[in-house]
C-alpha cells in the first residue's frame, strides 16, 4: 500500500533487538521472491503483542521472549506451532577501563560495585537472576552469592540495551546482558566475562506465522528462510546464537 506498487507486502513483526539480522534476511527474501516486499515492524516484543491483540494485520511474529509468543498464541492469533529460531546466553560485561577492578565473577559481591541488570519483568532480568542462583550452587561461589550480588544493583533496566549503554558509557561497573549484545561496535568499549556453561541460562526466540495472514504461504516461506542455514548464518553474523549446534 505504501507506494501503490503492484508488489505484495509481507508484514513481519520482529523484536527490535533483531533489527539488523532481520533486515538482512528480509533483503534476501525479497531477492528470492521478486513480487514480494517485506515490511518490518520493529518494536518491543510486548508492544508487538499488544498491537497484534488489537487487530494489527501481520503475517509473521518473531519475539525475543517466549512469554509474549504464548500470549499471542492464547489469543488464537498464531497459525500452527511457534518455532524457536535463535538462542541467547548471558555474559557479564565491564567497561574497558574496569573502574571497579573486577577480575572474576566472585568480585561482583564486593560492596560498592555498581551493577546494572534487567528488571525482573523483562526476560534478561529474569534470566540474570536465575543465572546468579545457578552460580551460587557452583563451587567457588558463596551460598548467598546471588543475594549479595543483587544487593549491588543500582538499576533494573527495562531494556537490555540500556544495560549495555550504562556499561558502555562507564556509568556502571558491571552489567548482565545477552552475548548477542556484545556486537563488534560495543566490543570496543566493553570487556565480557563468560558465565560457566552449567550455570548459564538459555534464552529462546520463537517465531510463528499468524492466523490472520492473507498470504500464509509466503509467511511460511519467510519462517523457513529464518530457520534455514543461510538465515541462521545471518543471525550468527549478527551475534545471535543460531539454534543449530546448541542444546
Amino acid at each position: 500500500h505504501a507506494a501503490g506498487a503492484p508488489k505484495q507486502t509481507l508484514r513481519v513483526f520482529a523484536a527490535a533487538s533483531l533489527a539488523d539480522a532481520f533486515r538482512e534476511i528480509a533483503t534476501a527474501f525479497e531477492r528470492e521472491h521478486p513480487g514480494l516486499e517485506v515490511q518490518l515492524n520493529l518494536a518491543g516484543s510486548q508492544q508487538l503483542a499488544s498491537q497484534l491483540a488489537n487487530g494489527a494485520a501481520a503475517d509473521v511474529f518473531a519475539s525475543a521472549d517466549e512469554r509474549w509468543m504464548s500470549d499471542v498464541r492464547e489469543k488464537q492469533l498464531v497459525d500452527g506451532e511457534p518455532r524457536v529460531f535463535a538462542h541467547n546466553r548471558l555474559v557479564v560485561i565491564l567497561p574497558r577501563t574496569n573502574p571497579a577492578r573486577i577480575g572474576r565473577l566472585q568480585d561482583l559481591t564486593r560492596r560498592g560495585i555498581k551493577l546494572v541488570v534487567g528488571a525482573d519483568a523483562v526476560p534478561v532480568g529474569r534470566y540474570s537472576r536465575e543465572m546468579l542462583q545457578n552460580l551460587a550452587r557452583l563451587d567457588g561461589f558463596d551460598v548467598d552469592y546471588a543475594r549479595r550480588v543483587l544487593a549491588n544493583v543500582v538499576s533494573e533496566e527495562e531494556n537490555v540495551k540500556s544495560v549495555v549503554g550504562k556499561v558502555q558509557l562507564g556509568e556502571a561497573d558491571a552489567g548482565i546482558v545477552y552475548r548477542s549484545d556484545v556486537t563488534p561496535a560495543i566490543a570496543r568499549y566493553v570487556r565480557a566475562i563468560e558465565i560457566p556453561e552449567p550455570a548459564n541460562v538459555l534464552a529462546r526466540y520463537p517465531i510463528a506465522t499468524l492466523a490472520g495472514s492473507r498470504m500464509p504461504d509466503d509467511a511460511r516461506a519467510f519462517v523457513a528462510l529464518v530457520l534455514s542455514p543461510s538465515g541462521q548464518s545471518v543471525l550468527q553474523r549478527r551475534g545471535i546464537m543460531p539454534v543449530t549446534g546448541t542444546p
Binding site: A121, S155, K166
Partner: protein, 289 residues
C-alpha cells in the same frame, strides 16, 4: 447609511451561529472525542477494585511517593531557575538572545532516551561535568537527585515558554508606574509582573509539572530504575508493561487519577482579574448576554 435600516433586526436577539462558530464547535467536539476516547478505553479495562488493591501495594505506594517527591521538586527547580530566564527573554534585548531561546526549547525535541544519554555524557561519571562533580564526591546517576535533574532538563522548556509569553504581555505602563512609586526592579517584578503574568505562569507550572510527572526515557537512561530510589510511576508502568499489560494499565490509571486530582487542584487558580489584567481597567462588567 452604510447598512440597510432593517438589517440589524434580521438577526435574532442572540446572534445565530454562522459558519465559523459552527466549525469551531465541531472542532471542539472532535478534540474532545480525540482526547476522551482513549481514556475511556483505558479506564474501561480496569475495575475500581483492582485499582484499590494495587494502590495498597507498598511498591506502588513507594513509586507514587517518589513520583510526587521528584516531580514537585523538579517543578520547583524549574520555576526557580526558569523564571529569571523567562523574565530576561521577555524584557531585554541582548546578544545571543536567539541562541538562548533555542537552547531552552531544544530538550523538547530530543527523544527522551537520547536526552538521558546526553545527560550521562555531561553529568555521568565519565561526563566532563560529572567528572568534576565526582571530585567533590557528588554522583548523580542512580540517585533520586539524578531523577530530578532529568526531569528538570525535560520539563524546563514547558515552563519557560508560557512564562515568557506571560511576562511579555504585561503592560509596560504599569511597570513604569511602579518605578515612579519607588519600586525597585525586583519589587516591580514581584509585585506587578508576577501577579499579572500569573495565568501564564500557572499554565507553565502545570505543563512542566505534568511533563516531569510523566517523564520516563531520560530518567531511566540517566538515573536508572531502582525501586524506592529512582523508580517513579512511569518507570514502574514500563517495567510492568514488559510482563503484564493489565498491571501496567492499572498503574497508568492510578497515575491518571492522581494527576487528575493534582490538575483539578492546580487549575483552580482564580481567573477573576485575568480578563481585565491590562491598562487601567474598564468600568462595567463584561456583557452578561
Amino acid at each position: 447609511m452604510s447598512h440597510a435600516p432593517d438589517a440589524r433586526f434580521a438577526a435574532a436577539g442572540r446572534p445565530s451561529p454562522p459558519l465559523i462558530p459552527g466549525l469551531a464547535i465541531a472542532a471542539i467536539g472532535v478534540l474532545v472525542l480525540l482526547l476522551a476516547l482513549p481514556f475511556v478505553g483505558l479506564i474501561a479495562r480496569v475495575s475500581p477494585r483492582t485499582l484499590l488493591v494495587r494502590l495498597g501495594e507498598p511498591a506502588v505506594l513507594e513509586a507514587l511517593r517518589l513520583s510526587l517527591l521528584t516531580s514537585i521538586s523538579a517543578t520547583a527547580l524549574v520555576v526557580i531557575l526558569g523564571t529569571p530566564a523567562a523574565y530576561l527573554l521577555a524584557t531585554r534585548e541582548f546578544r545571543g538572545k536567539r541562541l538562548l531561546e533555542v537552547l531552552i526549547q531544544l530538550p523538547m525535541v530530543l527523544p527522551p532516551t537520547v536526552a538521558g544519554f546526553a545527560l550521562l555524557m555531561a553529568f555521568g561519571r565519565m561526563g566532563f561535568a560529572g567528572h568534576w562533580l565526582s571530585a567533590f564526591g557528588v554522583s548523580l546517576p542512580f540517585t533520586t537527585v539524578g531523577v530530578i535533574l532529568a526531569q528538570v532538563f525535560m520539563a524546563a522548556p514547558f515552563f519557560i515558554a508560557p512564562a515568557r509569553a506571560g511576562f511579555a504581555g504585561v503592560d509596560p505602563r504599569l511597570l513604569d508606574a511602579a518605578a515612579t512609586l519607588r519600586a525597585s526592579e525586583t519589587q516591580r517584578f514581584l509585585r506587578v509582573m508576577l501577579p499579572l503574568a500569573l495565568p501564564s505562569l500557572v499554565a507553565g507550572v502545570s505543563l512542566s509539572g505534568a511533563r516531569a510527572l510523566g517523564e520516563f526515557g531520560a530518567t531511566i537512561t540517566f538515573a536508572g530504575n531502582l525501586p524506592g530510589v529512582t523508580q517513579t510511576m512511569p518507570l514502574a508502568v514500563y517495567v510492568a508493561l514488559q510482563s503484564d499489560l493489565d498491571a501496567a494499565v492499572v498503574l497508568s490509571v492510578l497515575l491518571l487519577v492522581m494527576s487528575f486530582g493534582l490538575l483539578l487542584g492546580l487549575g483552580s487558580a482564580p481567573p477573576g482579574w485575568m480578563g481585565v489584567r491590562s491598562g487601567a481597567g474598564h468600568p462595567g462588567s463584561p456583557p452578561h448576554r
